[in-house]
Assembly symmetry: C2
DNA sequence: ATTGTGACTGGAAGCGTTTTCATTTTTCGT
DNA sequence: ACGAAAAATGAAAACGCTTCCAGTCACAAT
């Protein structure tokens, strides 16, 4: 396997010049540059990643920590991050910390800190103060997506605001019997989002003078199947059904729609459903939702990171609110006339 | 940031001994080992990944090449791979080559070959002979999942066999008007699977003496929404509907079920649907399917790889057939009595 | 007492680049 | 055409480890 030395010999140049020619940094005459390129191509030479990282201190690698790669939001973000990173010539090291705290701990310590990533993107991960301090201490830029990350840059959507908007949409249609499906308590730890969206919902309800019935506050694990099971309970048992459901994610909204269909409820005639996300499947279900462009958030995170890496200076820990789009489809409508309003 | 040198000084040992103590290789007295450990812990020392890789020639990193991280099969495999790799102390570098050939080319050349992965897992990727040769040339173990990879180890399910079994299941229920939804031609290039499953379907039909109607051979892009659109065409236009649909993936089967519902067709009374995958959503839809444990396949790939890395010798290019499970739920039943059989 | 054995240990040579620094060559204003 | 500034170059010093090699030491076997 050829080394830079071989290239240098073949090109009749010094190692230093070849290095500069190949990396594009520093001054090299066009002639030398061409020679170096040619020699490298002929020998099929590729730089050794480790050697060059060791010497330069740059890794060209960013770590992405996700709780799962299965759920829509995460895989969408990862796709956005991956594409942008690849274009920029960076590697992406994926840390899937789904299974509990021990693994997560070891990831942070043994992997991330091991000087092998230039930066970290933490998706919907709530790190402890200590963990954040650790990351910041090694002087690597971090950006968080979708989760609070005090001290680091974050990209988030206005969770409480859009939850409010979603609830208000239902209220304006005339609904008063509105249920809310939030994320599971199991996720609360890593992922404060459920609470935030719930707060927005409650605020809108309160402002409209509507009751927030505790039996209509349900939760699921953010998956279609989890929401399906949860919604069956809601729609099946209670003789007094809600006329609308606001689900904290599109996947849960879809699960709710499926459950409704099982009970012969038409959406939106008998039940309005609204979600949050902009899931690809939304169209199939005619789901009214608020689109957060997850891929775009991932891409933005990378751009921000790279800017920081090149600029050198730690960019101030900015907190960017990513814009969302309200998409009205056919899963929401005025409530059925025979439904008695609450209050 | 402390280096091994600092640890050595603090422990009153030589660098060499500390290295041996920390890595566990070579002979070190228990006393020295303990001292080294303690000193390292006190300083919060972690090995530099690059330096140690450069010196030792091992990366502790495997590259995973996937066409997408969004579709069920891929994200499931990645989860399996990720978990197993992390447990073994390896990193996972993700190469998402979704967007066309150029990117893919650059991935193979600039990244994988850049001496930074010890092994490669290629998921459903059909590499050219030249590309495989390249990979094999750098003497890195490769294992392919779900795609043919001549010369390398592969893990696959018996695609044509299970397709046959799925079709036969429908036939045995009494169906003769059977449609098949296969993967898109767009995927054919990377991903020979659609054809393989289709072949199994045709074989079963032929053996049963049934017609394979070309207008009932449809295709979609493996997603729910794609299948939904495709199935609407099938079910909406033709006055003579099929009584059963065999979809080449669960996601497509689900899309088909959704489309059927739109037309007021009951599943399975009016239309039987069967898929392949073992998707989590299958339960919600009562989907009869053939479960291929994608996570398990990912985990197996890693184990195979690591065995090869430790064993040292290139393991013979084995071709493992991963077992599948037929799961009968409620989406398949005998055909409606009024449906005229074909032939 | 002598030698052999094997466990430990430390010095030092890499691993394959990048980058600094001093040096040489080129360019350009006048 | 001359000197100063700019551009291009090469030697060599890092980068932070692993591992070879030779040497020390304790202990058992002769």
């Amino acid at each position: 396997m050829p080394g830079i030395k071989d290239v240098a010999e073949r090109a009749g140049l010094s190692i230093a010049t070849v290095s500069r020619a190949l990396s594009g940094k520093g001054n090299v005459s066009p002639r030398s540059r061409e020679r170096a390129r040619a020699a490298a191509a002929e020998l099929g030479f590729v730089l050794s990643y480790h050697a060059s990282s060791l010497a330069s201190g740059r890794n060209h690698n960013v770590g992405v920590v996700v709780p799962s790669v299965h759920r829509w939001f995460f895989s969408s973000v990862v796709e956005g991050v991956s594409a942008t990173l690849l274009d920029a010539g960076y590697d992406l090291t994926l840390y899937n910390v789904s299974e509990g705290q021990e693994r997560r701990h070891s990831v942070l310590n043994d992997f991330l800190l091991r000087k092998r990533v230039d930066a970290v993107i933490a998706v919907s991960l709530e790190l402890s103060e200590a963990e954040i301090a650790q990351l910041l201490a090694i002087h690597r830029p971090i950006v968080g997506i979708g989760g609070p990350l005090p001290g680091a840059s974050t990209i988030r959507i206005n969770d409480s605001g859009i939850a409010e908007a979603a609830a208000r949409h239902l209220i304006q249609l005339g609904h008063s019997r509105i249920a809310h499906m939030t994320g599971d308590a199991a996720y609360e730890k890593d992922f404060r989002l459920p609470g935030t969206r719930q707060a927005g919902f409650k605020k809108a309800m309160r402002e409209a003078g509507l009751d927030v019935r505790s039996e209509w506050q349900l939760s699921a694990d953010f998956t279609i199947q989890g929401a399906y099971a949860s919604a069956r309970q809601l729609l099946g048992s209670s003789p007094e059904r809600p006329t609308a459901v606001f689900a904290a994610s599109d996947e849960m909204a879809i699960g709710t729609i499926l459950a409704a269909r099982d009970f012969g409820l038409r959406v939106p005639q008998d039940l309005s459903v609204i979600g949050i996300d902009g899931h690809e499947l939304g169209e199939v279900f005619g789901l009214t939702t608020i689109d957060q462009d997850a891929r775009g958030q991932g891409a933005l995170a990378v751009r921000r990171l790279l800017a920081g890496l090149d600029g050198g200076s730690d960019p101030a820990a900015t907190d960017t609110e990513y814009p969302t789009r309200f998409i009205i489809r056919s899963s929401t409508a005025v409530p059925p006339v025979d439904a008695a309003p609450i209050r």
